[in-house]
Amino acid sequence: MAEAHPVGFQWVMEAKKRGAKVIHVDPRFTRTSAMAHTHVPIRVGTDIAFLGGIVNYVLSGELDFREYLLAYTNAATIVSEDYVDAEEFDGLFSGFDPDTRTYDTRSWQYAQQEHTGNSEAGTHQQRETASSMQHETHGAQMPGFPPRDETLQHPNCVYQILKRHFARYTPEMVERICGVSQEAFLEVCHAWTENSGRDRTTALVYSVGWTQHSVGVQYIRTGAILQLLLGNMGRPGGGIMALRGHASIQGSTDIPTLYNLLPGYLPMPHATDHPDLQSWVDKVRQPGAKGFWSNADAFAISLLKSYWGDAATAENDYCFDYIPKLTGDHGTYRTVLDMIDGKVKGYFLLGQNPAVGSAHGRAQRLGMANLDWLVVRDLFEIESASFWKNSPEVETGEIVPEECATEVFLLPAASHVEKEGTFTQTQRMLQWREKALDPRGDCRSELWFFYHLGRLLRERLAGSTEERDRPLLDLAWDYPVHDSGPASGEWAEPSAEAVLMEINGYEVATRRPLSSFNEMKADGSTVGGCWIYTGVFADGVNQAARRKPGSEQSWVAPEWGWAWPANRRILYNRASADPDGKPWSERKAYVWWDEEAGQWTGHDVPDFEKTKPPSYRAPEGAEGVKAIEGVDPFIMQGDGKGALYVPQGLIDGPLPTHYEPVESPFRNALYGQQANPTRKQYSRDDNPLNPSPPSSEEAVAVFPYIFTTSRLTEHHTAGGMSRYLQYLSELQPEMFVEVSPELAAERGLVNGGWCHVVTARSAVEGRVLVTDRLRPLRVEGRVVHQVWLPYHWGTGGMVTGDSTNDLFGITLDPNVLIQESKVGTCDVRPGRRPTGPALREYVEGYVERAQANDGAPVVTADADAVRASQAVADRGEQA
């Protein structure tokens, strides 16, 4: 956190000053570790084993926050009798289909609700469309009142399942898998549990390297289980904090430029599942479920109205048919492979530099070299714009400028001070930026670019009678423009505030801005581009532009910017009060029920219906918002409870299970199943994987070391905003590789000298930094070396160097299709790498020795276990 979010880290230092204990779990000793009381080095890719160990510590010692657990989580909920845990099936849950490598999830459901699960075909489709991402606001949508056993004794209640599932995650096992001493591990256990309960809360903070694993979602799930067990969710000083790495990356998922989502986490319709508006909306709001998703029709129709305005009517399903439909995986990595295969013709890069920033840089660049046209919009001439004349592949001869047909348009972009608009920061807070001055020369905002591109497209198609052009021609695209700006007349800059107003939503008839998503209607009378952002323009005021000094308001600072939803700063904060609505303790009072006033009140906007008392119980047959009871804080979940066990929405299992990284020198100590069996894998010759057990020892030994990557404080991701600046470049001027003194001795590496790191994809070189901040770990009884690399360099900028992301292949988490780019195996050699065509020969030599192209099996669990797991699904079919 001190490395990548130094200013956020001031609050950790503040807490430390007040006596908080700071624990840092990280493979290497970073600037954060330097400030922590305890640094726990861990083998990369073993976090589930580590956190699972703590879960086991809590459960076996009955250290959970029982009152919270019973009232607010699904601990008491009873799961289907058909469910079989990964403990039984060698690392597979019940219902596994080895052909599609997906699960039939019907056995995972709550008792008597098996029908709400997916067949394996459904789960396969879910994986292709990364549908778990909808759960950013969603939660599972299942019938609201599953059977419960409040004594937690039922063998199939979630609590007992959890207990059994994590029983083998003992301190000894943690030590064996993670390389963390039992003593260190127990220190973390003690600290976490002792600092949780009525009077105290513990915060779990992760940076999004956690997501870049083939089991990334389950990492976070394990954290969530722990925080729910200890009663740390929805409470001040608690929670799980994702420290995201880009100014508006939260905003980029809320109002997504993602293939599988529409604004507000509405799913992009799928050709099979969502042939019409009704089926689409019903899929979002499971009939019978509790919670606010029951209003999904209003959210969806308001969005369609914001897209197609007057053309969207009840008669034409509000132009639902205009939305293109998904049929599978259309994610960025699939798309890049399709580029290599010649299926994609045109590509827009908008402030993004995949040539350096995405996994498997070579594939990225070869893909771009096979386009018809490429539009790059950036502040600088980044590597993704100049790949055709200056890239590793030009050196190796794989890209020859005279033979590369890609037309490239490099359009200069406006910087953050040269345009107005909102960023959504990592706590879901929107902050408006005032424009300071006009951009220079041809620099323009994306708003300008897309507004005018849309205008030009509509002009060109104006007379078209093609049915396919209707969505463009009917598009609501008449935004007001500024009088002044970088250009005027027909090329003027559109008003970002007008767009924000459309995002907020308004009444069609009066154009009155909506104040809350509760005002949205499903009858076409309201427009609203992103329902969760409704309220940002409440009362016609740009609430994101509020800047009441922090020193002049409460510590929650509700009048600075605006946080979705409804300016709530802590989600699910109903849980900060006990079931009766009283604060758990004075010290941790946040939101509570005021009996006299008959409403919820507190420091924050209550994340609960304001006047629904704690004593409210749903009438028989209630659904939707009415079904949320006074003790259901998790109002977006179908049962109103925090999910320790997740029956729906996850591809790889209802509970987190330790799998080894896809590239690992170690056999999974817990199960026969080596790595995530449901991971998204693209097995092609241009995407070879380093071998892992159970492949032959000789093959695995070709890449004996583990490497991981992360950021440096002094640079920003792919370097497009840092390598071009003198003041940042001088602080970290060269690509380097951190190695332990032991590895340096083993491989003959010299501090300040050169070395190179090799995988089946490429070899990258850097200067050697020998440091005790990396130490060999003892795992499974043998010593393993980990090396660390920053990934900021490329061929452009004031300081240049090899790109670390060239080392990674493409393997994705099945839930959200994010790549595993935080862990891999490698070889490390002294000296510089070969150059020119010799580089490819060199890497191919490694591929051959490691038999990396031979497609090692993904399903490595015991064959009987695989059959037994599949049999559960078959039983379900027959039933």
Binding site: P741, V750, G752, W754, V770, T771, D772
Partner: protein, 341 residues
């Protein structure tokens, strides 16, 4: 490929400093343990190059020459007077050139006269030079005027000629500070081997100045007029060598750089040449050749002294050892430098 310092080896370079016993010379103090930041210097060496030691040499030469000239004038040694005056003017010119050339902004040379700072040896020296220079110059000019045919000495030239003697006297009186202040210039720094030499360095420098000027007299003046030059040379050489010996004893560890590398070679050359020159001067008698050789040796010896001390200081600044060890030792003795009322 150079091996850069390994953090854990060098962040705390606790351990024995590098052995520096080249050419069989023993360090004067035992090697001390010390810690540094990757072996990097703490204080910065002066951004000066050959200009400054050259300046110090020529300043000393000018000062000594002016005194020889004045003495020659008073004792009717015209060649000695002439050589002294001309040499002082030439030296003075070189000092000015070196001084200006050494500046980062030569065009702002005159800012030197903007203030009169008693705390700044350079400012004080500038004013001393300002006092000395015109008179030394005038004396030399009068000498040149005197070389003109009688008929051409008119007006201002005649005045210059007439002022030669008094100007030469003033120059001789203001000359010693010119020779001495450069020692303070070096000593008034945090450069270990300069600062620690502050007690004796002025004597080394005036000795060196006398030796050089005397040497020049031996070299350029016929033996019959060179007696005072010889005595000045020998006296200067003896003073320089004695003061230098004493200086090294009082400098502690910071004397080491005087024995190492370029500085060591220069200082050894300086000692040899100065001793040789002094002995030669004593024995030269009426031999012109012996006078020339001895004089040249003394002049070269003086040059070596200036450059040697200059380099020793620069080297002492570049090695943290000479900054850390003396300070650490006084701390460890419980005797940090503290103000006591």
């Amino acid at each position: 490929m150079t091996e850069l310092k390994r953090p854990e080896q060098d962040a705390r370079r606790r351990g024995r400093g590098r052995r520096r016993k080249r050419d069989g010379e023993q360090s004067m103090v035992p090697e001390a343990e010390f810690t540094s930041y990757y072996g990097r210097p703490i204080v910065k060496p002066a951004p000066w190059e050959a200009d400054i030691p050259a300046y110090m040499f020529f300043g000393g030469l000018a000062a000594g020459s002016s005194m020889l000239a004045a003495g020659g004038d008073l004792t009717e040694r015209p060649t000695l007077r002439r050589v002294g005056r001309v040499a002082s003017l030439l030296s003075l010119t070189v000092t000015l050139v070196t001084l200006i050339h050494d500046l980062g902004r030569p065009s702002r040379f005159l800012n030197m006269l903007r203030t009169m700072k008693l705390t700044s040896p350079m400012s004080v020296g500038t004013w001393i030079l300002s006092a000395y220079g015109p008179f030394a110059g005038l004396a030399a000019v009068s000498e040149l005027v005197d070389m003109l045919p009688e008929g051409n000495r008119r007006g201002v030239l005649r005045l210059a000629s007439a002022l030669g003697k008094p100007a030469g006297m003033v120059a001789a009186v203001t000359a010693p500070p010119v020779a001495a202040y450069t020692a303070v210039l070096l000593a008034d720094t945090a450069t270990p081997s300069w600062h620690e030499a502050y007690r004796e360095l002025p004597f080394v420098f005036v000795g060196s100045a006398a030796a050089a000027a005397g040497g020049l007299g031996l070299l350029a003046v016929p033996p019959e007029e060179a007696g005072p030059a010889r005595r000045m040379a020998v006296g200067g050489a003896v003073l320089e060598m004695a003061a230098e010996q004493q200086m090294e004893r009082s400098m502690g560890i910071t004397a080491e750089p005087l024995h190492q590398g370029t500085a060591g070679r220069l200082m050894r050359a300086s000692k040899a040449l100065t001793a040789l020159g002094a002995v030669g001067a004593l024995l030269s008698g009426r031999s012109r050749l012996a006078g020339i050789v001895s004089g040249a040796a003394l002049i070269t010896g003086s040059v070596c002294t200036r450059f040697g001390i200059f380099h020793a200081g620069q080297e002492s600044a570049k090695d943290p050892r000479y900054t850390v060890v003396p300070q650490r030792e006084r701390l460890d003795r419980g005797q940090p430098i503290r103000y006591e009322d």
